[in-house]
């Protein structure tokens, strides 16, 4: 995704402070509604949620809310040997504020559609 790569390189150059600005930028530009709608359409898909503490959880997207909190079903932690903390958890609620990435299968993403939608949103559409 376009957003992903620019975010990664920006963090490398500018460091810690810039990452927080990205989150703020999303809110100020009113992107949250767009992504809320986008995630609602993705319900039922297999996703991997990477958190800000580096934990990665794979599962089926059950639901999402206005804060982009995520509910996952059938969860497995990606590196179970390194992170045995959630071995007995199969369904979980993840707070939106701790999500770094939501990783989707590339076939599941219509980049053109997203690109157009975000451009429109950024223009104030």
């Amino acid at each position: 995704m376009v957003l992903l790569s620019s975010h990664a390189s920006a963090t490398f150059v500018f460091g810690f402070g810039f990452r927080f600005e990205i989150n703020l930028m999303f809110v100020l530009l009113g992107f949250v509604q767009l992504f809320f709608s986008y995630f609602k359409d993705l319900v039922g898909r297999e996703v991997t949620v990477e958190l800000k503490n580096d934990l990665a959880i794979r599962g089926t997207l059950h639901s999402v809310d206005q804060y982009l909190n995520i509910k996952l079903e059938n969860t497995r932690v990606v590196d179970q040997d390194k992170y045995p903390h959630m071995l007995s958890v199969r369904n979980c609620f993840i707070r939106g504020s701790v999500v770094r990435y939501v990783q989707l299968p590339p076939e599941g993403v219509d980049v053109e559609l997203l690109h157009d939608a975000t451009r429109r949103e950024a223009r104030g559409g």
Binding site: L51, N53, L55, I57, Y83, L87, S88, C92, R95, V98
Partner: protein, 72 residues
């Protein structure tokens, strides 16, 4: 613990709670805490425990680094 309540800010009420402390040197330590109100700011995940799976775990054999803190 047992989730007794929550609100929009994800503040929660957790009854009969216990904390699992992970370490690389010894098995998982369980500290009984009782009834807690946890402020939503501090919460990353609320996971539903599958009792069957949890019973099968041998916590004394588990070795792991504690989870890293969340960096915004």
């Amino acid at each position: 613990g047992v989730l007794r309540g929550f609100d929009q800010a994800t503040n929660i009420i957790l009854d009969e709670s216990h904390e699992r402390v992970y370490s690389t040197k010894e098995g998982v330590q369980q500290l009984v805490l009782g009834l807690y109100i946890i402020r939503g700011d501090n919460i990353s995940i609320v996971g539903e425990i599958d009792e069957e799976l949890d019973e099968k775990l041998d916590l004394s054999k588990l070795r792991a680094h504690p989870l890293k803190p969340v960096i915004h």
